[in-house]
């Protein structure tokens, strides 16, 4: 399995990660930002899981078979926790989006900034 040598997997995952990163910082729509964050987050999970992989190994479930190479269980445990926590924070994010839309009538960054600036100007005039 010398073909597996090298870090090609990590480079591909980084490319994926940066697509998510770009979406988070470039797009003004908040739902789009959340989707970008999900992509970013899942790519980070892939990076961690890749590190735990052993070539010709198997899942870390003990068997009596001669199979001796098990994938590292620690990144798996870490990422299990991260997935659940990630969904919890995503839920809070979507709840905030709904509240922002109810209060300001938009979920686009630039429109939101205009509305808030206009409100601040009114406050200063009064």
């Amino acid at each position: 399995m010398s073909m597996l040598a090298g870090q090609w997997n990590y480079f591909l995952v980084i490319a994926l990660m940066m697509i998510g990163f770009y979406t988070v910082i470039a797009r003004g729509n908040m739902v789009k930002k959340m989707v970008g964050l999900t992509i970013f987050q899942t790519s980070v999970f892939m990076l961690y899981i890749s590190m735990g992989k052993i070539a010709n190994g198997t899942a870390p479930i003990l068997t009596d078979a001669a199979q001796k190479a098990y994938a590292n269980p620690l990144p798996h445990v870490l990422i299990l926790t991260a997935i659940v926590v990630g969904v919890a924070t995503t839920a809070v994010g979507y709840a905030l989006i709904i509240r922002v839309y109810e209060s300001y009538g938009t979920i686009e960054d630039d429109e939101l900034i205009k509305i808030i600036e206009a409100e601040e100007d009114e406050g200063a005039d009064a």
Binding site: W8, L16, G20, I54, V77, V87
Partner: protein, 190 residues
């Protein structure tokens, strides 16, 4: 070798889905692509021998996340304002990618059994689990027993998030919705 091909094919598929999700302006399609992304990611986790992570990702990432996003879309406009490619964020993403690539090229090779990560504490969990805990799935025994307090902490985080969602969307602090405004916004969005 077949592992390499399946792995590379799945990551290419993920890249395709991610690029489509960035480019589309219809948020319904974007959310569905995000669900597809999680599902293909779950398949990739199976290839990478992380079966527990795979079914959590399929259930929680592809399932619950998509439901949350769809519930949000039922209350907010479903189209994004068109955007062209933003140069500064694109440059930042490329710069970050370059830095990460430099850092990652120092890591041990992918799948290397002699990497430090496989030779420090992991073997002790793998050899001790059957005797200490008595269940064959090492991920479960680490999650629920060796590191049970971490999982308790995770539960606290989820509980806090649930309280936060209830406070943000609960009836006490929430203004009454005006139907007229809602219809106007929907009209503008199309």
């Amino acid at each position: 070798m077949s592992g390499f091909l399946v792995d590379a094919a799945l990551i290419s598929l993920l890249t395709l889905i991610a690029i489509l999700a960035v480019r589309l302006h219809r948020l319904f399609a974007v959310v569905m692509l995000s669900g597809a992304f999680s599902l293909v990611a779950a398949a990739l986790f199976v290839v990478l021998d992380a079966v527990d992570v795979a079914f959590t990702e399929a259930a929680v990432g592809a399932g619950i996340s998509t439901i949350l996003a769809l519930a949000t879309l039922s209350l907010v406009p479903r189209d994004e304002k068109p955007h062209s490619i933003a140069l500064v964020p694109a440059f930042l993403a490329f710069a970050t990618a370059a830095m990460l690539a430099v850092a990652v090229s120092d890591l041990p090779a992918f799948g290397d059994a002699n990497a430090p990560i496989h030779n420090h504490v992991a073997p002790e969990y793998l050899t001790g689990s059957a005797e200490d805990i008595g269940i064959p799935n090492v991920v479960t025994s680490v999650l629920a027993s060796y590191r049970g307090f971490d999982t308790l902490g995770e539960t606290v985080v989820v509980f806090t998030a649930a309280i936060a969602v209830l406070l943000v969307l609960g009836g006490y602090t929430r203004p009454r919705r005006r139907n007229g405004d809602r219809d106007k916004e929907d009209g503008n969005a199309r």
